[in-house]
């Protein structure tokens, strides 16, 4: 309720801070990419000189370049020349921007290929279904675990155990049972998120203030009503936050899932391009992933504010 903040902070608008939140990393990236001497551990050869194994446009370590230059000078042959450069793993912002544009506008090469935006959409549907199944099964189970001690004692120990299984280890089994297309991918997303979801939801449920349950009991609410009309609405805002976090988690499994069975989607694109060392493409794809995630999260946050009008506004330290 109280919203006391120090004057300085009040003057800085939230929007400015949010902008800074993205601007600062971008500036850092630009600093590292464009300002000489900040990092740039490599040299890009512009003229190999007399060094036998240098080639134009080759990237070589600073020390090696210095050594060869010295050797050339000592041996009175033409020293090489070059300009400082970053390793290919860290493309510069403008390169990534170009890659972003190219990747979105290049038509598919082959009959069996799709447009990039179609790959992205495909990835989104995989996440959607995997997470949906996870919620459909995990939410009720998690809530039951949190609400009923016996259910928790029965289900949680094994889930605790199973959550340490790495999801990719089930890839083969998933393909054997579910075929090679989307189903096994969805299954991996499911396996990766389900047990975590159950435990997180159970914890959240257990955090509900016991007074509400006591009140409901004295008002004659039977178990099922306590569950549906007290536990559920009582934890809903927190549950909603949990699910937003978990949805992000599901995305991190995508890169594993999309390599199972047939390769597809945006994260397969990432792996492929990383293998070709086209890191500008990789970064472009990362940015797309981040934007999709961020936008969906913002959307969910906006919706949350409308969904739970009774939530009090929280204040921070002052």
């Amino acid at each position: 309720m109280a919203t006391i903040t120090i004057p300085l902070v009040q003057r800085i608008r939230p929007r400015a801070l949010t902008t800074a939140s993205f601007l600062l990393p971008l500036l850092l990236w630009m600093l590292v990419s464009y300002v000489p001497g900040v990092w740039q551990p490599n040299v890009k050869i512009t003229d190999p000189g007399d060094v036998a194994f240098f080639r134009q446009n080759m990237l070589i370590g600073k020390e090696q370049f210095a050594l060869q230059t010295q050797l050339a000078i000592e041996g009175s042959s033409t020293p090489p020349s070059g300009i400082p450069a970053n390793p290919i793993y860290l493309p510069a912002p403008h390169e990534v921007a170009i890659a972003l544009y190219t990747s979105l506008t290049t038509p598919p090469l082959r009959r069996s290929e799709v447009w990039f935006y179609q790959s992205i959409w495909h990835s989104i549907t995989i996440i959607f279904w995997g997470f949906l199944y996870s919620c459909l099964l995990g939410l009720p189970l998690g809530i039951l675990c949190g609400a009923y001690r016996p259910v928790s004692q029965l289900a949680e120990p094994f889930i605790e155990f199973a959550r340490y299984f790495p999801a990719p280890a089930f890839g083969a089994l998933a393909v054997a049972i579910l075929g090679i297309h989307d189903a096994p991918k969805i299954a991996i997303i499911f396996i990766g998120t389900f047990s975590q979801l159950v435990l997180v939801v159970a914890n959240t449920t257990r955090r509900l203030d016991v007074r509400y349950l006591e009140a409901a009991q004295t008002l004659g609410a039977k178990k099922i009503r306590q569950l549906v009309q007290v536990v559920l609405p009582g934890i809903l805002p927190d549950l909603y936050k949990d699910l937003r976090i978990l949805l992000g988690w599901a995305w991190t499994y995508l890169i594993v899932a999309e390599l199972i069975g047939t390769s597809s989607g945006i994260t397969w694109f990432i792996t492929q391009q990383a293998r070709y060392k086209n890191f500008d493409m990789v970064f472009a794809a990362l940015i797309i992933l981040g934007v999709i995630g961020l936008l969906s999260d913002l959307l969910l946050e906006r919706m949350g504010l409308r969904l739970f009008p009774w939530q009090e506004k929280r204040s921070g330290i002052s």
Partner: protein, 270 residues
């Protein structure tokens, strides 16, 4: 055939009975006796007040009666049935606020009368009735955290009364109310008590309030919580047969008696 009509008076079981009730909490590994050997019977339709020093076990006692806390020895019986869990036959107003924050005032009251009024419209109307009775008609759409402390407590009272419980357990329900509202609420309570013939157990720190309302006052003493006296109040209920008149000659005397009982009980141990 003969025995059927025999007029041997069948003693109806007490509405509420505390039988050798004891409660021990564990405190840092050591047991701590909060209640000890409480024995008392409360008849149907009686209005009981419980008074006693802070921390003497009043809330614990009423919570056991509600079925929210488990007795360590003995137990609480409703018509000879041991209380093992809460139920709608025993309404409860908590010492600390316990409204559902996600429901509006009206919806909070509607919660307890779902079975009585399956129809949502009718249920809403019934709830509004109760909200109005506690003087909050214009706040029916507010959420609890938008209300003052006293307003919240009034909603809690309306919520507890709405289902028409046979036993009403109230833990300092009027402590957060101003004198005027409190007077109004007291009268409401008595009206309902009379009309529905319910049994009321009412914890209060206000001795005047206890004498004003109760048929009988239980005096609890601390360390460990024991029932040291049961004081029947014989002063007639003059105002429509509901609350007593403070200015009645007997009133001050009874109040003094009660006060004395409390002082001795507390001082003996505290």
């Amino acid at each position: 055939m003969a025995s059927v009509n025999s007029a041997a008076p069948v003693k109806t079981p007490a509405k509420l009975a505390f039988r050798n009730l004891g409660k021990t909490f564990m405190f840092q590994g050591a047991p701590k006796q909060a209640l000890l050997g409480i024995n008392a019977e409360i008849e149907t339709g009686e209005f009981i007040s419980i008074v006693g020093a802070s921390g003497c076990g009043k809330s614990t006692l009423i919570r056991i009666a509600a079925g929210l806390e488990r007795a360590s020895e003995g137990g609480v019986y409703v018509e000879d049935n041991l209380v093992v869990q809460p139920g709608p036959d025993r309404g409860m107003v908590f010492q600390q606020f316990s409204l559902f924050p996600w429901l509006s005032v009206k919806e909070n009251v509607m919660f307890g009368i779902q079975d009585q009024y399956p129809d949502k419209r009718l249920r809403g109307d019934a709830a509004l009735d109760w909200v109005d009775k506690v003087g909050l008609a214009e706040f029916a759409g507010y959420y609890p955290n938008q209300l003052s402390g006293g307003m919240q407590q009034r909603v809690a009272i309306a919520r507890a009364l709405a289902p028409g419980p046979k036993v009403l357990l109230m833990d300092e329900p009027f402590a957060a109310l101003d004198a005027q509202t409190r007077g109004r609420m007291q009268r409401h309570l008595l009206e309902i008590w009379r009309k529905l013939n319910i049994t009321v157990v009412f914890i209060t720190h206000d001795l005047e309030e206890a004498v004003l309302l109760a048929d009988k006052i239980f005096v609890l003493a601390p360390n460990p919580g024991r029932l040291v006296a049961t004081l029947p109040i014989e002063i007639p209920r003059v105002k429509d047969g509901l609350e007593r008149d403070k200015y009645e000659p007997n009133f001050a005397a009874v109040l003094k008696d009660l006060s004395g009982l409390l002082v001795t009980s507390t001082d003996a141990h505290g």
